[in-house]
């Protein structure tokens, strides 16, 4: 994490209904729990399942007054790899930052799809991890974990313990989901490839 007062800025790309907004708000939660000042906000429009959507995080040690969208993010998270051709996902992305893509491909295979982006390219097969651990394609939890791991906005161990507490609270009535989500989380943090 950068050692300045400037907030770490993250942009999420997803499709309506996939939970990119939820992942963005979960990251804000996780950063809040570790004592940060956070912003988590989606760019809203009419509700359209499957349409490209964008969400944003600002995370810093001081309250960030800026209320605009983020145009020069430090990190970009792409929850759906089919967006790579449709949306300019690396637009404004810092060359010192990273892009994290949900794909079964390797960073080397993805880089040519990123319009000449020279920064770090990270990949995570969130779909497979989700299917293995949760039995369904809920890419949220693994994408969140990969974003935390790559950006370092939250200290990893603290993140894992906070998330466990939060899952226990959220899924008190269906404990089987907690194990699956925790497995998705730790697996993703291990498997994310940095290229």
């Amino acid at each position: 994490m950068k050692n300045t007062n400037k907030p770490v800025e993250i942009r999420w790309h997803g499709r309506g209904g996939q939970g990119a907004k939820t992942a963005c708000l979960l990251l804000a939660d996780a950063a809040f729990s570790s004592g940060k000042y956070v912003q988590g906000f989606p760019e809203y429009g009419p509700e359209r399942m499957g349409a490209p959507i964008t969400a944003y995080n600002r995370i810093s040690d001081e309250r960030c007054p800026v209320h605009s969208n983020i145009y020069e993010p430090d990190y970009v998270v792409v929850v759906d790899e089919t967006l790579l051709g449709a949306v300019d996902v690396t637009k404004g992305l810092s060359q010192d930052g990273a892009i994290i893509v949900n794909t079964s491909k390797t960073p080397e295979e993805v880089r040519p799809l990123l319009g000449g982006y020279n920064g770090k390219v990270c990949t995570i097969d969130a779909r497979r991890i989700s299917e293995e651990t949760l039995g369904k394609n809920f890419p949220n939890t693994p994408m969140l974990a990969a974003a935390v791991k790559v950006s370092g906005v939250v200290e990893a161990e603290k993140f894992v313990s906070d998330m466990e507490a939060s899952f226990h609270h959220k899924f008190a009535h269906k404990p089987q989901v907690i194990t699956g989500n925790m497995a998705a989380l730790t697996k993703s943090m291990k498997e994310v490839q940095v290229g």
Binding site: L25, A28, D29, F32, Y37, V38, Q39, G40, F41, P42, Y44, G45, P46, R63, C64, P65, V66, H67, S68, N69, Y71
Partner: protein
């Protein structure tokens, strides 16, 4: 010790409503205010409040519900946005002329048409002459704090006016940020009980509310409303002072940010003020004497106070997040420039209409406007007064 949380602006307002536990809520959903009655409905279902939650078929009816409930002697709240506020238009005037201190959470959204769900201030600015106190928030924190201050202001016997607590749709209403909340007992104690002297359910004496006013009476009652709006000014400051004692958070009619020696300044309302503040800090670091005035209270309008805050400036830009199609500038500009008129020597003033229908307001835009003000100061030439910014053009 306050409670440290992270909430969206809508959650924060619903949270304040729960702490207040009003008698009646008139509930009708409209984007982006829908979450307020939605969260509140959960509080009702969970038994955390004993509010009569009245689901109605339109905003015309939700405001009518509030009017009836408040006249009966209860505390009534509602939330709305955009066309919802427009559909209440007739009743807004009834509420204020009957001197019923209803509290309305307005989550600002562009008015149709063209239809649009994103933020600007055209809804509440359209209702600016309806006789409601209007208080605007920059952040979720301010939306929460303002909501807790609304009833002590509006219900004050010298005021007796309804209060509209405004925040920017999506930008703060759906944006999650850190917030400090009061404990329930402290919030409740601060807001206090509603004890009107006269109300319909008071069995000792009958009461008629909102009678027909013939010409011989109408103007006198309008003057009473106008006087009540003047009387609201000291009450707003007094309530803010009490709130500061409780929370340490300071509020006034507006916030003058780095204005002491500012030569140029922006005057604006709402969430964009945060972005302007960051711009001021950036330019100050470069040695430029810039400042910002964030207006919190638009009704009553702090005419003399605002003029005093701006009098030392050489040029100011007033930013309106609403068109008024006057062909001469937006509503905030009209008021601000009118305030400057009483100064012996006044800054040059220009107007920018910006941010309509969710058009983003960035540090770059704010910096550009400061650049334009520099040019006015250097050349002494104001140029076009009524401007727009953020639009595509040839």
């Amino acid at each position: 010790m306050s409670i440290r949380e992270r909430l969206s602006g809508n959650e924060a307002v619903a949270y304040a409503m729960r702490q207040i536990n009003p008698d009646v809520m008139g509930a009708f959903p409209i984007t982006p205010s829908t979450e307020i009655p939605q969260y509140f409905a959960q509080y009702v279902a969970d038994g955390l409040v004993d509010t009569e939650y009245v689901t109605v078929e339109s905003e015309h009816s939700s405001m009518s519900t509030c009017i009836g409930a408040q006249a009966a002697g209860g505390r009534a709240v509602t939330a709305t946005s955009s066309c919802g506020l427009a559909l209440m238009f007739e009743l807004l005037y009834v509420a204020s002329s009957c001197r019923l201190p209803i509290t309305l959470a307005c989550v600002n959204r562009a008015l149709s048409g063209p239809i649009n769900i994103n933020n600007d201030h055209s809804d509440s600015m359209g209702a600016r002459d309806a006789g409601w106190i209007q208080i605007y928030a920059e952040t979720n924190q301010e939306a929460y704090d303002n909501f807790l201050q609304a009833m002590p202001i509006g219900e004050n016997p010298a005021v007796r006016l309804p209060v509209m607590i405004c925040q920017d749709g999506f930008i703060t209403s759906h944006g999650v940020e850190n917030i400090e909340l009061l404990e329930d007992d402290k919030a409740k104690a601060f807001v206090g009980e509603y004890n009107p002297e006269h109300f319909l359910l008071k069995h000792e004496n009958p009461l008629a509310v909102g009678p027909y006013d013939v010409t011989h009476y109408y103007m006198e009652h309008k003057i009473q409303q106008a006087e009540a709006m003047k009387a609201a000014k000291p009450v707003i400051l007094q309530v803010a002072a009490e709130f500061e004692k409780l929370t340490g958070r300071k509020y006034g009619f507006f916030e003058a940010y780095r204005m002491e020696d500012a030569e140029t300044a922006l005057v604006l309302i709402g969430s964009s003020a945060g972005t302007a503040r960051a711009t001021v800090d950036k330019l100050r670091a470069e040695g430029k004497k810039v400042g910002m005035v964030k207006l919190r209270v638009f009704r009553p309008f702090p005419m003399e106070e605002l003029a005093a805050a701006l009098q030392h400036c050489k040029a100011v830009a007033v930013l309106d997040k609403a068109e008024s199609f006057s062909a001469a500038g937006g509503p905030l500009f009209a008021e601000t420039r009118s305030a400057l008129y009483d100064l012996d020597s006044r800054p040059k003033a220009i107007n920018y209409v910006y941010g309509l229908g969710g058009r983003d307001f960035t540090v770059d835009v704010a910096e550009y406007i400061f650049g334009q003000l520099d040019e006015i100061v250097t050349t002494g030439n104001t140029g076009e007064v009524y401007r727009h910014i953020g639009q595509r053009e040839v």
